[in-house]
């Protein structure tokens, strides 16, 4: 689960990591009030959205005079921000983080991730903060310090030490930087993170260490033991159809095409999208109704597909295996009748009693094109797509 920068910073603070002075604002008036409280000369307004690349997209503005804060906040709030990391629709800006501007002497990267193959956390650090770490790792791997942590004994002092000296910082910074490394690792473990990142961690002209920007992503599967984090969810940052789908335990991701697809199982769903692309059409979505799809799940899936106005045809691909195709076919036909679906539907069903299932489709009187096998389905989707969609 993604959380906002201001929420991530609050957690960092709980773990003893210094953050800039600041407050959130949801209106221009609030922004002005925060600025007055902060006093000082310059302010930075940061759009709180669930995506990176804000700076280049106008989502981070430095304001030199306090009297300009309200106007700038007014301009940013309520807008939709499109960055290199968002979809075309962008993300709505409902909250700003108003902070003091710091005099920066140096920027550092610090992050904790999981090494999937080794099955352990890894701390990444670099003296070249503020840049994209993945790009740095690709282009200048010698500039990235990697410390693999043995989860049984946790982060050891010698490792924090090694990271600190690897960064080439002034010795006077040893204590605060190592405390930051240890705090970030503790947070990562205690909050079940999949990513905890400070980028950049800055050294100010005054020699202080401050987390200027932060990103914390929490393992969805572990949210049950972190109600305090689950409560930070901001559905304004999610696609409304995806939110609706999640309510029904459907795994749905909106894409750009117009061939709606409904599949059971994530791997087959991805392969089905790939197949739609191979026949020259574009998938409108990823929709996994679960490995053991039931008639009820299929019906909910239909509803979600129909809410997407871009969908011009539907491809149902269910490999039931143990599931009885006749029961499932009955459910699909009922759902299609009830929801008055007038789009062409290609259906491919596999599992116990498949012949009976196919008969139910052909005799339903509805516009089902029944395919036998994936290759045949691909052919039929391609034909209809050429006629109706492209």
């Amino acid at each position: 689960m993604k959380i906002h920068e201001y929420q991530a910073k609050k957690i960092l603070q709980d773990y003893g990591i210094p953050i800039p002075r600041g407050q959130i604002a949801r209106t221009d008036e609030e922004a002005m009030r925060v600025a007055r409280q902060l006093a000082g000369g310059r302010f930075v307004l940061k759009a709180q959205i669930h995506a990176g690349g804000r700076g280049k997209a106008g989502g981070i503005k430095v304001i030199d005079r306090i009297e300009d804060v309200g106007r700038a906040a007014w301009d940013m709030l309520g807008k939709v921000l499109v960055t290199a990391q968002t979809a075309e629709e962008g993300k709505p800006v409902r909250t700003l983080l108003v902070e003091e501007v710091l005099d920066i002497a140096k920027e550092i990267y610090l992050g904790v991730v999981i090494d999937r193959q080794k099955a352990c956390p890894v701390i990444l650090a670099s003296a070249e903060g503020g840049v994209e770490i993945e790009r740095l790792a690709r282009e200048r791997p010698d500039r990235v310090i990697t410390e693999t942590i043995d989860p049984a004994v946790g982060l050891r002092s010698f490792q924090a030490n090694r990271i600190f000296y690897g960064l080439g910082l002034d010795r006077s910074l040893a204590q605060p930087v190592m405390a930051t490394i240890i705090g970030l690792y503790r947070l990562f473990i205690e909050k079940d993170c999949s990513l905890a990142e400070i980028n950049p961690l800055v050294v100010t002209d005054q020699g202080n260490i401050v987390a200027l920007d932060a990103k914390v992503t929490v393992d969805d599967n572990a949210l049950f033991r972190h109600p305090e984090i689950a409560g930070l969810r901001d559905i304004s940052q999610e696609d409304p159809l995806e939110v609706e789908a999640a309510k029904h335990n459907l795994n749905y991701i909106k894409l750009k095409g117009n061939v709606g697809c409904m599949v059971n199982g994530a791997g087959l769903a991805m392969a089905t999208m790939d197949l739609i692309k191979l026949v020259g059409a574009e998938p409108a979505n990823f929709l996994d109704v679960g490995g053991g799809a039931t008639s009820q799940m299929v019906k909910e899936g239909f509803r979600i597909l129909l809410y997407d106005k871009d969908v011009k045809m539907i491809f149902i691909n269910i490999f039931g295996g143990i599931l009885r195709c006749d029961t499932l076919a009955q459910g699909v036909v009922e759902a299609a009748r009830e929801l008055v679906i007038d789009l062409p539907i290609v259906v491919r069903l596999e599992g116990t009693n498949v012949e009976e299932g196919r008969r139910i489709f052909s005799e339903s009187g509805l516009a089902f094109t029944v395919a036998s096998g994936l290759a045949d389905a691909a052919l039929k989707v391609g034909e209809i797509a050429k006629r109706q969609v492209l």
């Binding site: 990391q85 979809a87 999981i114 999937r116 193959q117 099955a119 352990c120 956390p121 994209e132 770490i133 993945e134 790009r135 043995d150 989860p151 049984a152 473990i189 079940d192 999949s194 393992d219 969805d220 599967n221 572990a222 049950f224 033991r225 795994n251 991701i253 894409l255 599949v263 059971n264 199982g265 994530a266 791997g267 087959l268 769903a269 991805m270 392969a271 089905t272 999208m273 790939d274 197949l275 739609i276 692309k277 191979l278 998938p283 990823f286 996994d288 490995g291 053991g292 490999f319 039931g320 295996g321 143990i322 596999e350 599992g351 116990t352 096998g373 994936l374 290759a375 389905a377 691909a378």
Partner: protein, 294 residues
């Protein structure tokens, strides 16, 4: 022959009285799997469909000699169940549960270091050696006994591939779902190594997907150590970056873990990469008949 499970495999089902556990215990037994015990704390002494039920795995192993486990325990208790099985001396643990926290799985991987146990999954359809033993949730009847090994990160996509092979008369030695989570037990490399040394396997199909580097590692292993032919399909060429495609492990992050990269690595190593998910059966069939001519 086969890998991981065979007719000597004696299975204990952890979570046998739960909805999934109960249903699939019946399915596994009907397939011919020797389900010798069930575990459900507090329910010892109440046989389930004639299968003795125990409070702990240790009790089940002592009484029945079970040597494999099927874990159908809810996510928050599943990692614990896996460790319990390993502690009790179970060699092959198949964890079907989806939704286990990643850090719990990291603890499991720590726990099993130095142990003679192997973990399949979690978030896997399981493992089947057609005709001998099935530990998992896959439909038995789509499989056919034979000499092609399959290993996959996915469930229904594996059924699809098995179905394509079976319909062409190509049987399978063993099908191993390694699981769709970021941190798992056996990886592609481990399974490839087993297939390479299995006399009952002539060729292997790998079904990979976006995220992580398991496919790249498999390519490296193939290049260095494998003599048997391998065919691969990678799902997710149309997947957008930064989004988790159903499986917890299926995500392109920071431009890494794309289908293109994986296909490239596998192809470079000399593995035949099939771009069309509907054409995997044909590709395997062509390869096998081509080899027979030589």
């Amino acid at each position: 022959m086969s890998i991981l499970v065979n007719s000597d495999t004696k299975v204990v089902v952890q979570g046998i009285t739960g909805k999934e556990g109960a249903f699939h215990t019946g399915q596994m037994a009907a397939y011919g799997t020797r389900v010798v015990a069930g575990v459900s704390p507090g329910k010892a002494g109440q046989p389930f469909d004639g299968i003795p039920v125990f409070n702990t795995v240790r009790d089940a192993v002592q009484a029945t000699g079970a040597n494999a486990s099927a874990v159908f325990v809810p996510p928050r208790f599943a990692a614990d169940a896996v460790m319990e099985a390993m502690e009790a001396g179970i060699r092959t643990v198949v964890c079907l549960t989806e939704g286990i926290p990643t850090l719990d799985m990291i603890a499991v991987r720590q726990y099993m270091k130095g142990m003679n146990a192997r973990l399949i999954g979690p978030n896997t359809p399981g493992v089947i050696s057609p005709g001998y033993c099935k530990i998992g949730v896959m439909a038995g009847y789509i499989h056919r006994q034979g000499r092609v090994g399959i290993t996959s990160r996915s469930g229904t996509l594996t059924y699809e591939v098995v179905d394509q092979l079976t319909k062409k008369g190509i049987g399978q030695s063993t099908c191993v779902g390694i699981g769709g989570d970021p941190v798992i037990g056996l990886n592609f490399v481990d399974v490839l190594e087993m297939f390479e040394h299995d006399e009952g396997t002539d060729a292997v199909v790998i079904i990979g997907e976006i995220g992580g580097t398991a496919e790249e590692d498999a390519a490296g292993y193939f290049r260095k150590h494998m003599t048997k032919p391998v065919i691969a399909f990678i799902a997710g060429i149309s997947a957008p970056p930064g989004r988790r495609m159903g499986h917890a492990g299926a995500i392109i992050s920071g431009g890494k873990g794309t289908a293109e990269e994986k296909m490239h690595a596998l192809g470079e190593a000399g593995i035949l990469v099939v771009p069309d998910p509907a054409g995997i059966g044909d590709a395997v069939s062509n390869m096998l008949s081509g080899r027979q001519k030589h």
